[in-house]
């Protein structure tokens, strides 16, 4: 990736923001501490020399192995990973931010994990965060209107979580 100096600048500007990195891989990524996310995003958009003015995509990945046999072998602890794909119109460059969250807040099943919303930085994040909330169950703090976008409002559960079970019935319609 062209010009990775901004990472050093970012570390100087916001202390403790970058907690992991891989700039040599296919898509260079930085792991950001969840409590510094909003600050980091604002810096990347407004103060960084490569102005990352576009947010292309937000993805939540549910790292949970539901098969107990395989679960014994995996190296990671169950967690949720949120991936932000940024793009700079000026430099024609992209950057990936990753944020690690617990699957449930305080490990209480049903309590959605929380992360700050970046809607105030990129307005395009509005619908993307609603989609992630809808399908993966992440609470975006500070989002102006966080409600389901693709599923019906009375839908139960978060389909893209690995332990999701399709409802047997929805308003008289057979689920499976």
């Amino acid at each position: 990736m062209r010009g990775t100096d901004f990472v050093t600048e970012l570390e100087a500007a916001i202390e403790g923001a970058v907690i992991g990195r891989n700039l040599e891989t296919l898509d260079p990524w930085l792991e950001i501490s969840p409590d510094k996310l909003l600050e980091t995003c604002r810096w990347l958009k407004e103060s960084c020399e490569i102005r990352f003015d576009g947010l292309q995509c937000i993805t939540a990945i549910d790292w949970l192995e539901t098969d107990p046999k395989k679960a014994a072998k995996v190296e990671w602890e169950p967690h949720t990973e949120i991936v932000y794909h940024l793009w700079s119109t000026k430099a024609r460059a992209s950057l990936v931010l990753k944020v690690k969250l617990p699957r449930w807040k305080d490990n209480q099943p049903g309590q959605l994990p929380e992360v700050s919303s970046v809607e105030s930085v990129w307005r395009g994040a509005d619908w993307h965060e609603r989609e992630v909330f809808d399908l993966s169950g992440i609470q975006f703090l500070g989002h102006p209107d966080l409600r389901r976008i693709l599923c019906p409002e009375d839908w139960d559960g978060y389909p893209l979580r690995k332990d999701y079970e399709m409802p047997l019935e929805y308003h008289g319609m057979r689920g499976r």
Binding site: T25, L26, D27, D53, G54, L55, Q56, C57, T59, I61, D62, V83, H85, T89, R92, S94, V96, W122, R123, G124, D126, W127, H128, E131, L135, R148, I149, L150, C151, P152, P159, L160
Partner: protein, 402 residues
């Protein structure tokens, strides 16, 4: 006499004062865009707020992708933007190839350019025809579909399907072109080129069309970028970005050596604008008319690219190459790639844990981001302008809802 007029004035003013009203547009098939519901808050004819409700076509294709191998998911990408299924196939195939660090043969690359650019023409024809429908003129739709039909015939010969092709696949193509196909494709292009003038007469320069689209729904470049708008919507606002030139190397390598100019207004001029009707006086950069016009220019640009790729493809001596195994093992890791699809930049993201079945797949829909900006564009416009704005964004709900 003057007394009566004064009195009338009062009566009129009293009459036009209206209450705020919620108007539901849809959910239905407004035209070929798919099932979309708009809730408008109106004051008389003026829309004060507009909110799109989406999800009527939601199938959670991403969840399905977690249960299939990468190649098995190709048919599901067909059903995203079903008007440009070739481009969708290509996006996913390239993303997986990026993860595999796999490069297809030169012949396959030229064939991919050829087929996706043809599909871009077909998609823009629907975009154009359906836009006419949105604005209440039926005939351009028939003209557009007449030519699209011939394109679909060509696609049917190639892969047997007219809409959901699954032709481009991970590691190559499912089959080579049938004999004589290139000649038939060239015959189509020769016949199609003069027809484009008809479209300009029917829509681009049509006085009613210009009145309905010029200076309506003006999208500033800053807002377009802020909302993640891409493709013709972004270029219609004058932002010079086209992933076929500015994208990642695995994608731009396909277009190496091809001559094309990005369809965007620069210094008040569109590329080759002496060949096309002049920009109407009322049109403002970023309005519905410009978004429409960029698509019309891209049709011509794609025709050029198809001609170039036919030459290159027929000069290629080597074999086309076989696609990868159905259950090819993916290396652990992740890859994200955006490609320039007719509707905008379609991104695919694949996360693998080292098995043939991806851990997570993600489709970043271009039309999803393009539609997200529509409430801003519709604020303060007339009810009749709402279909003009939505149509100019050229959304396909299959891609938005996934």
């Amino acid at each position: 006499m003057s007394q009566i007029l004064d009195e009338d004035q009062r009566i009129i003013e009293f009459d036009v004062r209206t209450d705020e009203m919620l108007v539901n547009m849809g959910p239905q098939h407004p035209s070929t865009h798919g099932v979309l519901r708009l809730v408008l808050r109106t004051d008389g004819e003026i829309v004060s707020e507009m909110e799109p409700h989406i999800g009527y076509l939601h199938r959670c294709a991403e969840k399905i992708g977690e249960n299939l191998t990468a190649r098995q998911w190709i048919p599901y990408t067909d059903r995203m933007d079903y008007l440009a299924a070739m481009n969708m196939n290509l996006g996913w195939a390239l993303t997986v190839e990026k993860l595999l660090r796999y490069q297809v043969s030169e012949k396959a690359r030229h064939l991919r350019v050829l087929i996706t650019e043809l599909n871009r023409i077909a998609s823009h024809l629907v975009g154009m025809g359906a836009y006419g429908l949105d604005l209440g003129t039926f005939s351009p739709f028939l003209y557009a579909f007449r030519e699209r039909e011939k394109l679909l015939d060509l696609f049917e010969e190639v892969c047997g399907a007219r809409l959901t092709y699954s032709y481009i696949t991970v590691g190559g193509m499912t089959a080579d072109l049938p004999p004589g196909w290139l000649q038939r494709c060239e015959a189509f292009l020769d016949q199609f080129e003069p027809v484009i003038r008809e479209y300009h007469t029917l829509l681009t320069t049509n006085a009613i069309f210009v009145k309905r689209t010029a200076n309506i729904g003006v999208l500033s470049p800053e807002m377009a970028i802020d909302y993640g708008c891409t493709g013709p919507v972004l270029r219609g606002s004058g932002v010079d970005i086209d992933l076929r030139r500015d994208g990642e190397s695995i994608y731009t390598a396909m277009y190496d050596g091809y001559a094309f100019e990005v369809a965007v207004m620069k210094n008040g001029h569109y590329p080759r604008d002496h060949e096309y009707p002049a920009v109407p006086r009322d049109a403002v950069l970023g309005d519905c008319w410009h978004r429409f016009f960029v698509r019309m220019l891209e049709v011509v640009q794609s025709m050029d690219l198809v001609r170039q790729s036919i030459d290159r493809y027929s000069q290629c001596k080597g074999p086309l190459g076989e696609p990868l195994k159905l259950a090819e093992k993916l290396p652990a890791g992740d890859a994200y790639l955006e490609t320039e699809c007719p509707k905008g930049q379609m991104g695919f993201y694949v996360v693998s844990d080292g098995t043939p079945i991806p851990w997570r797949v993600r489709a970043r829909s271009s039309a999803f981001s393009n539609l997200a900006v529509s409430p801003e564009l519709c604020r303060g416009c007339l009810i009749a302008d709402v279909p003009a704005v939505i149509g100019s964004l050229d959304v396909v709900m299959g891609e938005i809802d996934r």
